[in-house]
C-alpha cells in the first residue's frame, strides 16, 4: 500500500540545539497513530514541520505523493497545542473562518460536533475555558474532510471529563479512510484508540510499531513500554 505520509530524514536545529535528528517514517492511509514522547522530545516541532508551519533544516516530506507546500496544506488538517482562534471571534466566527478558507470544510459535521461538544455558537472564544477551547479546536480540525489529521496534544491540560469527551469525539468523528496522528505524553488515556505508535526520544524515532504487535511481543501495554523507554 502506498504511504499517505512520507517523512524522510527530517532534521531541525535551533542554533546548536538539535531538536530532530534524521527522523524518517511512513504512515499508510486509514491509520490512527500515536506520536509519543516526553516533554521536549520534539513532537510538536515534528508536527509543525509536517503541517508546513516550520521549515526543516534537512530532509523532505510528501503527503499523498505531493511534496510539502501549499498543496499539502489542503490535504492536512492540523490542530496545534494552543488555540489558533482570534480573541475577537465568537464560536460561529471561528466556524465561518474555516468555512471561508477551506473548500473541504463540512458545515453539517461542524454543527453536529458543536452539539456533541456542548459548544454554543454565540459564545465568545475569549471566554471559553481551556477544556472548551480544546473542544472547539478539535471541532474545527475534524470538520474538514482531508486525508491526514494532525492533533498536537489534544488533551493536554484538560480535566479527565473533558479528556473523555475529546477522545469520544475523535473516535466518533474522524474519517476512517483518512489517517490521524496524535502527539501526546498522556499515553494511558489515549492508547486504546491507536493502531500504531511511534516513540520520539531526543529527536529520534526509537520505536515504531503496531500496538497489537507491541502487546504480543512484549506482553505489556503501550503505557508500560512508554514508562520503560522514557523512565529516568
Amino acid at each position: 500500500m502506498d504511504a499517505l505520509l512520507k517523512v524522510n530524514g527530517i532534521s531541525k536545529t535551533y542554533g546548536k540545539k538539535q531538536v530532530l535528528d534524521g527522523v524518517s517514517f511512513d504512515i499508510g492511509p486509514g491509520r490512527l497513530v500515536g506520536l509519543l514522547g516526553s516533554n521536549g522530545s520534539g513532537k510538536s516541532t515534528l508536527m509543525q514541520i509536517v503541517a508546513g508551519l516550520t521549515p526543516a533544516t534537512a530532509g523532505d516530506i510528501s503527503v499523498a505523493g505531493e511534496p510539502a507546500g501549499r498543496k499539502t496544506k489542503s490535504l492536512i488538517s492540523y490542530m496545534p497545542d494552543r488555540p489558533i482562534t482570534e480573541s475577537w471571534m465568537k464560536v460561529k466566527d471561528a466556524i465561518a473562518f474555516y468555512n471561508d478558507f477551506y473548500a473541504d470544510f463540512d458545515m453539517e459535521k461542524a454543527r453536529e460536533m458543536l452539539d456533541f461538544m456542548k459548544l454554543d455558537e454565540k459564545n465568545g472564544v475569549s471566554v471559553l475555558s481551556k477544556g472548551m477551547n480544546e473542544r472547539l479546536q478539535l471541532t474545527l480540525a475534524l470538520s474538514r474532510n482531508v486525508s491526514l489529521y494532525l492533533l498536537d496534544e489534544p488533551i493536554g491540560g484538560v480535566d479527565p471529563v473533558a479528556r473523555g469527551k475529546i477522545l469520544d469525539a475523535i473516535v466518533r468523528f474522524y474519517r476512517e479512510d483518512s489517517s490521524l496522528i496524535i502527539s501526546t505524553h498522556l499515553v494511558r488515556d489515549m492508547e486504546r484508540i491507536f493502531d500504531e505508535v511511534m516513540f520520539l526520544q531526543d529527536g529520534r524515532i526509537v520505536l515504531h510499531e503496531e500496538v497489537e504487535n507491541l502487546r504480543m511481543k512484549h506482553g505489556r501495554s503501550v503505557d508500560d513500554m512508554f514508562k520503560e523507554v522514557f523512565g529516568e
Binding site: 503541517a51 516550520t54 521549515p55 501549499r70 496544506k73 482570534e86 475577537w88 473562518f97
Partner: protein, 248 residues
C-alpha cells in the same frame, strides 16, 4: 486575498473605527471652537498625522501577524496573498484618512486664501493622474520596504528581531538612497518629479494665475529602479515566508 483582507479588517475593526471616530470628533470640535483659523489648521494637521502613524503601525502589525501566526500560515493561500491583503488594507486605511482630512479641508478651503487652489484645479487632467499614480506607487513602495524588513527580521529565530529589523531598515534605506542618488541624482525620499510645478510670488504672496505644471521624463529612471526593487522585495518576502519564518 479578499478573504484575508476581510478577516484583517474584522480583527482590527475596533481600533480602526475608534481612531476614525476620535479624529472626526476632534476635527468637529476644532471647527466649532472659537480658536484662530491657523491654530485650528495646525491642530488638525497634527491629529491627522497622529492617526496616520497609528494606522501605519497597525498595518505593519497586520502584515507581521499574517506571516507569523499559525492560524494564517495554515491557510492554503498563495504566499504573496499575505502581502496583497496587507497592502490593500493599508491603502484602504490611507483612503479613509484622506476622506476624513478632506472633510476638514473643505472647511478651510472657503476660509483661507483659495486663489492658489483655484489655480491648481485648472491644471490639466494628466497632471492630476500623474500625481495620483505617483502617490499610489510611493505608498506601495513604502509599504513593501517595511514588509521586506519585517520578513527578514522574522526570519531570525534568535531574540532581538525588533532591533535587527530596525538596523536593517536603516541600512536598507541608506543604501537605496545612495544608489538612487548615484544613478539618478535624487534619493528615494524625493518624489519622482513626474510633474514639476512653477508659481510666482511677489513679496511672499503667490501671484494669481501663475501656477503651471510641466511633465518631464527624468522621473523614469528612478521610477524603474524602485519598481525593480519592489519586485525584488516580493521575491525576498516569498522566500522568507516559505523557507525561513516559523509560525508561532
Amino acid at each position: 486575498m479578499m478573504k484575508l483582507l476581510k478577516y484583517d479588517l474584522r480583527r482590527n475593526a475596533n481600533l480602526l473605527l475608534a481612531v476614525c471616530a476620535v479624529l472626526i470628533l476632534c476635527e468637529l470640535a476644532l471647527i466649532l471652537s472659537p480658536a484662530m483659523l491657523e491654530v485650528k489648521l495646525g491642530v488638525i494637521i497634527v491629529a491627522n498625522f497622529a492617526a496616520a502613524v497609528i494606522f501605519m503601525i497597525n498595518n505593519l502589525r497586520v502584515f507581521d501577524y499574517n506571516i507569523k501566526s499559525v492560524s494564517r500560515r495554515l491557510l492554503p493561500v498563495n504566499t504573496l496573498s499575505y502581502v496583497w491583503a496587507s497592502l490593500v488594507y493599508g491603502i484602504l486605511n490611507t483612503l479613509a484618512l484622506i476622506v476624513i482630512a478632506g472633510g476638514a479641508g473643505l472647511y478651510f478651503l472657503g476660509r483661507l486664501d483659495a486663489s492658489f487652489w483655484a489655480d491648481a484645479f485648472k491644471l490639466p487632467l494628466y497632471v492630476w493622474i500623474g500625481l495620483a499614480l505617483e502617490a499610489v506607487f510611493t505608498t506601495v513602495y513604502g509599504f513593501l520596504m517595511f514588509y521586506v524588513v519585517i520578513a527578514l527580521a522574522r526570519s531570525i529565530t534568535k531574540k532581538g528581531a525588533f532591533w535587527v529589523g530596525l538596523l536593517l531598515f536603516l541600512v536598507l534605506s541608506a543604501v537605496m538612497d545612495w544608489l538612487e542618488n548615484l544613478l539618478f541624482g535624487q534619493d528615494s525620499t524625493q518624489p519622482f518629479n513626474m510633474v514639476t510645478f512653477h508659481f510666482e510670488s511677489t513679496t511672499g504672496t503667490i501671484t494669481h494665475d501663475s501656477l503651471t505644471a510641466v511633465a518631464g521624463w527624468r522621473w523614469f529612471g528612478s521610477f524603474g529602479f524602485e519598481l525593480l526593487l519592489s519586485i525584488a522585495f516580493l521575491f525576498v518576502i516569498k522566500w522568507c515566508v516559505e523557507k525561513r519564518i516559523e509560525a508561532r
